[in-house]
């Protein structure tokens, strides 16, 4: 699968003479993710050496939200669907863990698939309605469905309601508690992120992924080829929901707490910001975007309690002036598909 993921270009692409920069781009597609994952793998040891052990917990959070941002990029960057309710999938994954724990179910082999399935099913149901619409209607409807999940979580008084739900211990696996150790949990999250990254790249490189991207560019032509754009987009929406559900399950384990705030539409907006910061349509761009967003949040919040006064205008400036995201500022442009 790695070999296939590295080979992003469709095999039947015409063998034109390679334009200048193509090799650099291919290198960038390989180099940036390798460097990113190497940095994540080395981080705990480096944090120990520097005596900054809080970095491990921070990086765990970054990786979890990177996974969520990546799942959003699948539909936003590749599918061209501006979904403004993505935090709901994250929150449903988290609530699946919280509610299961409250009901006495803590076995990871059951809980994790449950979280993924719950988020994917919600995505399937809401996607079936939302995808009937286009453009700005789609943005507003996904936002509204996200908000529906948010208010539903608030009304769940048996599971904490507005206050949220504390989870008394991380998910178990076959009776053991491998996730209780923060260091081990870090590498589990890293493994999930890496596996999902490779899987996502395999998906967009597959026939399914190419139809999805074609449907972004021209749904009419896809339909003329006898394919149903709606079905492909809906499947992608559900897959993205499943990935985000996994991220939510990891997030609940990380914080050992779930709350409706995970689903607020501000969180959905933040995920879009991460994808845009890193540059749409490249999964390592989404990871980079999560690092930059959360890093900035961390750094600015040390500076002042009112760091949002700085972050808001920064975001406006990025939108107005850095249109391809931060990766577009690098010499090697990652944009593919």
């Amino acid at each position: 699968m790695t070999a296939r993921a590295a080979e992003d270009r469709p095999p039947e692409a015409p063998a034109l003479p390679a334009p200048a920069g193509t090799r650099a781009r291919a290198l960038g597609r390989l180099l940036v993710p390798v460097l990113l994952f190497a940095a994540f793998a080395a981080l705990p040891a480096a944090a120990d050496a520097l005596g900054q052990t809080f970095l491990v917990s921070f990086a765990t959070r970054v990786m979890i939200l990177a996974l969520a941002a990546m799942s959003l990029d699948l539909i936003l960057g590749y599918g061209g669907l501006v979904s403004f309710g993505h935090a709901a999938f994250l929150g449903i994954g988290a609530y699946a863990v919280g509610i299961a724990a409250e009901e006495g179910l803590t076995e990871g082999l059951a809980v994790f698939p449950l979280a993924i399935a719950a988020a994917a099913l919600f995505a399937l149901a809401t996607g079936a309605v939302s995808l009937r619409t286009r453009g700005v209607y789609f943005i507003m409807i996904t936002l509204a469905f996200g908000q529906m999940a948010f208010f539903t979580a608030i009304s769940l008084s048996a599971y904490g309601g507005d206050d949220g739900l504390t989870i008394w211990g991380r998910t178990e696996f076959l009776g053991g508690t491998p996730l209780e150790d923060d260091r081990a949990f870090y590498f589990v999250v890293l493994g999930c992120l890496a596996a999902c990254y490779l899987l996502a790249r395999a998906i967009v490189a597959s026939r399914f992924g190419r139809v999805l991207q074609a449907a972004r560019q021209s749904p009419g032509r896809v339909a003329a080829l006898g394919l149903d754009p709606f079905a492909y987009q809906l499947a992608a929406y559900a897959i993205a929901g499943g990935f985000a559900g996994l991220a939510g399950a990891l997030l609940a384990n990380h914080t050992e707490f779930v709350s409706p705030a995970y689903m607020s539409w501000h969180r959905s907006g933040e995920l879009i910001v991460m994808v845009i910061l890193g540059g749409m349509g490249s999964f390592h761009g989404a990871i980079l975007g999560a690092i930059v967003y959360l890093g900035l949040e961390e750094a600015l919040s040390h500076l002042t309690e009112h760091w949002r006064l700085l972050f808001g205008p920064f975001l406006v400036l990025v939108v107005l002036h850095a249109r391809g995201g931060l990766l577009s500022l690098l010499p090697v442009r990652p944009r593919d598909g």
């Binding site: 700005v136 209607y137 409807i141 509204a144 208010f151 205008p313 107005l320």
Partner: protein
């Protein structure tokens, strides 16, 4: 409790909740009208419209703190919102009209982050209140056993008057004609010698003013906090999706429908569930369903009319 009294009470409750629902509806309409006008004319999705409502309420609180006069607070709210709207249009919105919806969403999201934090910084995290004006305090007896606050009736009346004025303005005035022309073909309008930039700024400013007015009217019955705009914005989106983006009439119908369904759902869902569920289960399921009702309504409308009830645009 004898059965007649109980049914009498629930009838009163239903009447009160219907009035409350209509009143939420007119507030929603004032916010949704600006949103839908701006979208209709400029094809611009403005997430920062909700914070205009929030800022309007804060302007009113600030104006009242300075003058202790409700009319002065009204002037502060309306003029402050107008100025803020024009400023934002000049600095940011203007550069976003021709950009993708995604860029518009992100740019205005940045403005929300900034203004929410600004409100928290300037006015503190604890919610503020605005007293009900002297002349509109107290309650009146609407029917047997139904005492209703005058101020809430005043909101309803003011909202309906503004809605009627807006309709007349859009339908019969020159400005309204330009707005409608701008919505159907802005380039043609520009070619005919109309200063489209000024028209756009005017529409944004006017919408901001309506939202600020709604914020002022809501301030005495809600607590004024920095997140009040966020929740209302999503409701306003539901309203214009149901009504059809760009349609004032749609926004009016959608706003009343959402206001009524949400308010009545919250007060009666649990009781209705108790008819066929155990009380404990009903207490769980009722609020959960009530909070979903308007979204279910929206999904239902879209299923039959993907561009809303009165939607002309399918953008």
């Amino acid at each position: 409790m004898p059965p007649e009294t109980q049914s009498g009470m629930s009838l009163t409750l239903a009447a009160v909740q219907t009035l409350n629902g209509l009143q939420l509806g007119v507030l929603l309409f004032l916010v949704a009208a600006g949103l839908t006008l701006v979208f209709g004319v400029m094809d611009f999705i403005n997430l920062a419209h909700g914070v205009q409502y929030m800022m309007g309420a804060y302007f009113a609180v600030a104006g009242y703190a300075l003058t202790s006069n409700f009319l002065a607070a009204l002037a502060f709210a309306v003029l402050g919102s107008l100025a803020l709207g024009l400023l934002l249009e000049r600095l940011v919105f203007r550069r976003l009209y021709r950009r993708s919806h995604l860029d518009q969403v992100l740019g205005t999201f940045g403005i929300i982050i900034f203004l929410n934090e600004l409100a928290r910084t300037v006015w503190g995290a604890t919610p503020r209140t605005l007293p009900v004006p002297e002349a509109l305090s107290g309650s009146i007896l609407l029917m047997d056993g139904l005492l209703y606050p005058v101020y809430r009736l005043a909101i309803l009346a003011a909202g309906l008057v503004v809605a009627a004025l807006l309709y007349v303005l859009v339908r019969w005035s020159r400005a309204g004609m330009l707005v409608r022309a701008g919505a159907s073909n802005p380039r043609m309008l520009s070619a005919l010698g109309i200063d489209v930039d000024r028209l756009f700024a005017g529409v944004v400013g006017f919408g901001a003013m309506l939202a600020g007015f709604a914020g002022l009217m809501a301030a005495p019955i809600l607590s004024v906090g920095s997140s009040m705009g966020d929740d209302l914005l999503v409701l306003a989106f539901v309203v214009i999706v149901i009504g059809g983006i760009g349609s004032i009439r749609g926004a009016f119908v959608g706003a009343l429908a959402v206001g009524l369904v949400d308010t009545l759902g919250r007060s009666f869902a649990t009781d209705i569930f108790k008819l066929f569920l155990a009380p404990a289960a009903a207490n769980e399921a009722g609020p959960a369903l009530a909070s979903m009702l308007i979204y279910i309504l929206m999904a239902g409308v879209l299923f039959f009319a993907p561009s809303g009830l009165f939607g002309a645009k399918t953008a």
